[in-house]
């Protein structure tokens, strides 16, 4: 198993998530307007970052395994 690099990438993702999902970055998006297609900014931001995190994990795990 390629523990080294994948592990490092996952830890990086974890740190990025910790920062992106918490104060003070979170407060930048903590507003209802402007909305995106009616959905408040905060909701769009949190779910977008979440999707990107999960996507990133999948990429590291599934992509890293082949190379």
């Amino acid at each position: 198993m390629q523990k080294g690099l994948s592990g490092q990438r996952l830890v990086t993702l974890f740190l990025a998530g910790m920062v992106l999902f918490n104060f003070p970055l979170l407060s930048l998006f903590d507003r209802s307007a402007p909305d995106i297609g009616g959905v408040p900014m905060l909701y769009v931001y949190v779910f977008l970052v979440w999707t990107m995190l999960v996507g990133g994990m999948a990429l590291i795990i599934e992509g890293g395994g082949r190379s």
């Binding site: 830890v11 910790m18 999902f21 918490n22 009616g38 959905v39 995190l53 994990m57 795990i61």
Partner: protein
């Protein structure tokens, strides 16, 4: 409306389906064709994290405070990013030492202690029972909503008596858990059928929740944007769009993130599915993204459902926790409501089943078994087969836990103590974090530290979180919260020491973890670890580097193999124990049990086998009662550890050394080859030199003898002979000088007088000094310089010597009277090049390499030109010393061009002007 009967039947049918799946899973496991040996199944089974609290409660929390429930799922997402570090290690340790619960994990690491295991079990039990009650309440209120009040079954379903559908479901779950959780005593404590059912339940609850989410979002409303746009018109709902509407919202958000990050590894049910039920550690990899993806999906529609419900029923109209059921019911979609209810049922039952198994294992191994063994005087210790007893204890524990949950549900009802239990429970298991993480990454933690830490954390948790929840439920005087116990203000449970500014969860988590970590560190520093602690610490922390065999040396026991087999047989069944030992014996190279010697590793093997069934602390006690145990002191353990690490270090050093030796050998061999080559060259050189010296000496001697013997030689001849002698002596001197020169250059003893040199001056000087000789021979020299020549850093006299040598060589081979020498200099930014071209006979390609060797001269042997054969080699040495090169291009009959070029930037600063030694 649905009839009450149809709902009960549907629920029971669903449970029946679970039984079928679990049965299928177990059968396939027995056949060795596991259906859960799959990373996706593993990922789905982790989703047992999402309980009825998620399924119904998330919508409720979203309806009151918007997105603030989300960290409960963001935390696990982030936590899973670290699963490859933390979870993998937990799985490896647990597999290596047959650890079957979180209590066993902590007890085993800190000295195989009964007390510690018992404490962890009690914390888990207290944190779990109300949580199970919450699940039962969710199911019960779901049934209440679905069953019409005038139904014949209604008075049974919610009659409030001691027999109702909730009890029925609790008993059905107990039956399921007993059937698939305690089918037989497995040393690894894995339950494949149960895991298959749980993974299936995860799919069902996701399907149910997505169904209601899509229904509300796209059928009742016109998509997510539409719901938000409509909600935005109501200021009360618009308030939910942002987070910072309350004080400390970000602090609470952070606390929840951290808390749920811990929970995903520390909740008893998570430990059960993630660690104990793990089939293959490689499954963890895929679960790292599958589980977070699941969490993301199940949370997509929470807020739309909450807003939709609030707009439909009005704020305060209907309990938001029930929106997922009341929304379809109010639009008369009974079938959808039933589907959603089944989803909720699976969320609740999944949690209850796994949590009950996990906690019952702890209760049996860490609470009941130690007591049973302690009162072994009753004759139990001599009982031949204790498997029946063990299974009975487990089954009893399962039934007891579920009934406790049911009773708590009946007693607590709508009380805060039940509704808020989700997070209170999270905070309880968070107390395991310091001891558990310390167990894997810190060698210094001791039994005392873990005991103090867990106790302190648990007490503070109880005081700051559990007690207030009782007070809010009206079971205790509410003045406890406002004025503090006995009116002491700074002891108010939610504002300990007057701390304000934190919400009650963050407040409790801070104080409890503060006390926990502090006591853990203080306790560990209080006294040095004893032998067992030090040994276990190394085995846990270094699990990746240690094979099971190494651990055996930490405690030495000897005894009879037969005794050990009998002992293990009492708990695992005699036949299975015999089989296990036989397999182990074959592995170690014995043919049968009688040949086997009860060495320490066999004793260790027996202990690990037992640990799977009765926990490591009890296993230790049992084995110790059977075999004679040598007492090993801490010094000895440290010595063994040191020895092991020293051996590792030595072997590493040895490898290094042998590698270095090989390299040195190769170097020596190469040096030897070079020496031989040099020796041969030296011999060649010596013979050449002596040959060259002999020629002039011979002629000098011959002419001297003639002069000496014949006094009558006339003056003319005498003059001629003396002239020859003089010129031969000159030649001899030059030869000796050049040989010395050559030797000096080769050995690096030359003093290089380096300075900035203009090569044009060098060439001019050389040409001037040979011009008279050339004129005498009737030869002509043409010189061509570029306009700009960069200065070189070199020894001017040496370069003159090189050019002089090339010119006199050219002159020797160029024809007399018609000879023409062309000297051409070219320069670019990096190099200066000098070509000396003659119009002599040229040099054949085969000879072009040879002329640079010592004592080789070009041209015909017959008319051997005057020269020593050392000029070109010396010149080449000089040019190469300055970083340049010297070569020849020539064709026979078209003259020869000797060229050399020197780099402009060359500067041998380290040695310039020094004696090269």
């Amino acid at each position: 409306m649905l009839s009450g009967l149809s709902i009960v039947l549907a629920s029971l049918a669903y449970l029946g389906l679970l039984f079928a799946i679990a049965h299928f899973g177990d059968r396939r496991a027995d056949q060795g064709r596991s259906i859960i040996d799959n990373a996706y199944v593993y990922g789905l089974s982790l989703a047992v994290y999402c309980t009825a609290w998620t399924y119904f409660g998330s919508v409720g929390r979203a309806a009151s405070s918007g997105i603030s429930f989300l960290p409960v799922y963001l935390g696990p997402t982030l936590g899973m990013a670290l699963a490859w570090l933390i979870l993998l290690k937990m799985v490896r340790i647990s597999k290596a030492y047959r650890i079957t619960s979180i209590a066993d994990f902590i007890a085993s690491r800190y000295g195989k202690s009964h007390v510690l295991g018992g404490l962890v079990s009690v914390i888990a039990l207290i944190g779990t029972v109300p949580y199970i009650a919450l699940q039962l309440k969710a199911v019960s209120s779901g049934i209440d909503l679905l069953v019409p009040a005038d139904d014949a079954l209604a008075h049974v379903a919610n009659g409030g008596g001691w027999f109702d559908t909730t009890l029925l479901i609790a008993l059905a779950l107990a039956a399921f858990t007993i059937l698939f959780g305690t089918r037989h005593l497995d040393a690894a404590e894995r339950h494949e059928g149960m895991v298959a059912a749980i993974a299936f339940e995860s799919l069902v609850k996701l399907g149910g929740f997505l169904a209601i989410g899509i229904y509300v979002t796209y059928f009742l409303y016109d998509g997510v944007g539409d719901i938000f746009r409509r909600a935005a018109e109501d200021p009360a709902l618009r308030r939910l769009f942002t987070l910072a509407h309350g004080n400390g919202a970000y602090g609470n958000w952070f606390t929840l993130t951290v808390l749920s990050m811990f929970s995903v590894f520390l909740l008893p049910r998570q430990f059960q599915v993630a660690v104990v039920e793990n089939v293959n550690e490689h499954h963890i990899r895929r679960a790292i993204w599958v589980f977070p993806a699941y969490l993301l999906l199940i949370n997509l529609f929470v807020v739309p459902i909450a807003l939709g419900g609030l707009m439909h029923f009005g704020v305060g109209g209907v309990d938001p926790d029930t929106f997922v059921l009341t929304l379809p019911l109010s639009h008369d979609h009974q079938a959808l409501a039933l589907l959603v209810f089944i989803g909720g049922l699976s969320a609740a039952t999944g949690m209850v089943i796994v949590e009950t198994i996990a906690v019952s294992t702890m209760v049996c191994n860490d609470l009941v078994m130690p007591l049973v063994l302690r009162i072994g005087g009753l004759g139990l210790a001599r009982e031949r087969d204790l498997t029946g007893l063990l299974l009975t204890i487990r089954r009893g524990a399962i039934l007891l836990i579920l009934l406790l949950g049911y009773v708590y549900y009946q007693v607590a009802g709508e009380a805060y103590a039940l509704v808020g239990i989700g997070l209170i429970s999270f905070a309880a298991v968070a107390q395991f974090a310091p001891a558990l993480l310390g167990a894997m990454y810190w060698r210094g933690g001791t039994h005392l530290g873990a005991l103090w830490g867990l106790s302190a954390g648990f007490l503070v948790w109880g005081y700051t979180l559990l007690l207030p929840s009782f007070a809010k439920s009206g079971w205790l005087d509410a003045s406890l919260l406002t004025e503090g116990p006995w009116g002491i203000g700074w002891l108010r449970p939610e504002h300990l020491f007057g701390m304000t500014g934190l919400d009650n969860l963050s407040h409790a988590l801070f104080w409890s973890l503060f006390a926990n970590c502090g006591a853990f560190l203080a306790g560990s520093a209080f006294r040095p670890p004893n032998a067992v602690e030090a040994g276990q610490a190394t085995m846990f922390v270094d699990v990746a580097r240690r094979t099971a065999g190494v651990g055996t040396s930490f405690w030495r026991g000897t005894g009879q193999v037969r005794d050990l087999v009998t002992l293990v047989g009492r708990f695992l069944g005699p036949q299975r124990a015999e089989d296990a030992f036989l397999r182990y014996a074959r592995l170690r190279g014995w043919n049968n049990l009688d040949e086997m010697e009860a060495d320490p590793s066999v004793v260790q093997f027996a202990e690990i086998q037992l640990a799977g069934a009765i926990g490591s602390a009890s296993a230790r006690a049992m084995v110790a009662s059977t075999v004679k145990e040598e007492v090993i002191g801490i010094d000895e353990v440290m010595e063994i550890l040191d020895e092991a690490s020293q051996v590792r270090a030595y072997s590493h050093q040895l490898e290094e050394k042998s590698r270095a030796l090989e390299a040195a050998t190769a170097e020596l061999r190469a040096a030897n080859e070079r020496m031989k080559e040099l020796d041969r060259l030296k011999d060649d050189f010596m013979s050449s030199v002596s040959h060259e010296l002999r020629t002039p000496l011979t002629s000098i001697r011959a002419f001297s003898e003639m002069l000496c013997e014949d006094p009558k030689i006339d003056l003319e001849d005498r003059k001629r002979f003396l002239g020859i002698i003089v010129s031969e002596t000159v030649r001899l001197t030059r030869l000796v000088n050049q040989v010395l020169d050559m030797a000096k250059i080769e050995s690096g003893h030359v003093e290089w007088q380096n300075a900035e040199v203009d090569l044009r001056e060098v060439v001019t000087q050389a040409v001037d000094s040979v011009s008279q000789m050339l004129k005498d021979r009737g030869q002509e020299v043409r010189v061509q310089f570029p306009e700009i020549v960069p200065l070189l850093w070199a020894d001017r006299d040496r370069l003159v010597q090189v050019v002089l040598n090339l010119l006199s060589n050219g002159s020797k081979f160029a024809p007399k009277e018609a000879g023409v020498l062309e000297v051409r200099m070219t320069a670019d930014g990096e190099r200066v090049r000098v070509d000396v071209k003659d119009n002599g006979p040229g040099i054949a390609a085969a000879e072009q390499g040879l002329i640079f060797e010592k004592f080789r001269q070009g041209g015909d042997i017959r008319d051997k030109p005057q020269g020593t054969g050392l000029g070109l080699p010396i010149s080449r040495q000089i040019v190469e010393h300055f970083g340049g090169r010297l070569w020849v291009t020539s064709e026979v009959g078209a003259g020869a061009t000797f060229s050399f070029e020197l780099p402009v930037g060359w500067r041998d600063d380290a040695t310039a002007g020094d004696n090269q030694t």
